[in-house]
């Protein structure tokens, strides 16, 4: 029997055997490799490897902050909620932050929020029905991407100018980029917060009783004003 490419059933059988043999050869060759002698790597090399791993680690941590949902929220719905049409009673899972600080871990910092253990925290339900809203948007910016936990805004005339807003449950493990950034302690809506800055990138980390918000971009201290108008309902 010959198929449209001119291959016979025999060719097909050979292909199957070739794949099985390749698996066997790879395994045999791996087993045949002798353990080499210990190498003394240079400090420079080990430092570079640490940086490679740290960079990947940082990406992983950033990804956690954002906690991308696969479901995209509707922009219109976000604005309706921003206008005050709440659909969830936050009192049911209110928590209380007793202490807030950043724990330096090199290129990133872990956000430490010590919670009142007597508070009831049940975000698993809340995350399905609340929406992230931003009720102050600087002039000239428009939504470029919107998800359940994240909204990206870009300047209409220059898309390189941007800011984004993300949120995460207050009891989640959160890390933020603090590499080479100066930190300024501020207050947002009566809660402790921090403004971080380096030449081309700034961010604000703030929270309320239930959520942590991370606002970042390249528009300077305007991020603080935005942070005052970020909320999940």
């Amino acid at each position: 029997m010959i198929d449209e490419k001119g291959n016979t059933a025999f060719d097909g059988a050979f292909e199957v055997m070739l794949s099985a043999a390749a698996e066997k050869a790879a395994e045999d060759m791996g087993e045949e490799i002798q353990k080499p002698e210990e190498i003394e790597f240079s400090e420079e090399h080990e430092e570079k490897m640490k940086r490679i791993f740290a960079r990947e680690n940082r990406k992983l941590r950033r990804k956690r902050i954002i906690k991308y949902s696969k479901r995209c929220a509707c922009a219109m719905l976000a604005f309706v909620i921003a206008a005050g049409v709440g659909i969830y009673n936050v009192e049911a899972w209110r928590s209380k932050v007793l202490n807030f600080f950043l724990e330096d871990e090199g290129v990133a910092s872990k956000v430490i929020l010590e919670l009142d253990e007597s508070s009831e925290v049940s975000h698993s339900n809340a995350t399905d029905s609340t929406q992230l809203s931003v009720s102050y948007i600087p002039e000239g910016f428009d939504i470029a991407d919107i998800r359940d936990y994240f909204i990206l805004y870009k300047n209409v005339e220059n898309p390189d100018i941007y800011f984004d807003v993300s949120s995460s449950p207050i009891d989640a493990n959160i890390y933020i980029d603090t590499e080479n950034m100066t930190q300024e302690h501020i207050t947002i809506n009566g809660y402790d917060a921090v403004y971080l800055e380096k030449e081309s990138y700034q961010s604000v980390l703030c929270y309320d009783d239930n959520w942590v918000y991370y606002i970042s971009g390249n528009i300077g201290r305007e991020l603080i004003k935005i942070a005052e108008h970020v909320k999940r309902f």
Binding site: K5, G6, N7, T8, F10, D11, A13, F14, M17, L18, S19, A20, A21, A22, E23, K24, A25, A26, E27, D28, M29, G30, E31, I33, K35, P36, E37, E38, I39, F41, S42, E44, H45, K48, M49, I52, F53, E56, N57, K59, L60, R62, K63, I66, Y68, D145, F150, L152, D164
Partner: protein
């Protein structure tokens, strides 16, 4: 937005574990090609960046195959670095030697033990053919990914795959002829 090739803590731990376990082996492979300590270290770094990018391909592979995979990555990264430093031009494959699929198989008899024979044939191939074949068949690389890793065009990668296949058929035939004699 930031996306990572490392998806979980387990992935991250696996990469660090791979590094600690096999850095000496990868260095040795690279040093044998580059003959320079500093360049060999650079090759280990570049290899790990490639490994991280392809993590999803290898996280279910058994230990001996991973070891072989790391050797393939290290060897090809190092060869590319050597070629780059010497500005070598890769010799194009001779099209006359490349046959399309379905050729020559009628003369060999496939038996259960043929898998072992074919495996031996694969092991006897020159590294450029063997690596290409294993990347494709075992580690799930596309032609484009093989081309990128081995520093050749996709067309050359495909020709190498075909040539590897033909050489394996020749090897098996030769073995059978020897047995008949």
């Amino acid at each position: 937005m930031f996306f990572s090739d490392i998806e979980t803590d387990d992935d991250r731990d696996m990469v660090i574990d791979l590094y600690n376990k096999y850095k000496n082996l990868m260095y040795k492979v690279s040093y044998d090609i580059l003959r320079d300590k500093s360049l060999a270290e650079d090759a280990v770094q570049s290899s790990f960046i490639k490994i991280i990018k392809s993590l999803q391909k290898i996280n279910k592979i058994s230990s001996p195959k991973i070891k072989n995979y790391l050797v393939i990555i290290s060897r090809n990264v190092s060869i590319n670095m050597l070629n780059e430093s010497k500005k070598l031009i890769t010799v194009s494959e001779n099209p006359d030697e490349i046959h399309s699929g379905g050729s020559g198989l009628d003369d060999i008899i496939l038996r259960r033990e043929s898998v072992s024979k074919i495996a031996e044939a694969i092991k006897s191939l020159k590294p450029i053919y063997r690596d290409t074949l294993l990347l494709k068949r075992v580690y799930g690389y596309s032609d484009a990914e093989i081309a990128e890793l081995t520093g050749v065009s996709e067309e050359t990668a495909r020709k190498r795959l075909m040539r590897a296949r033909n050489k394996i058929i020749e090897y098996v035939k030769r073995e059978e002829d020897n047995n008949d004699d």
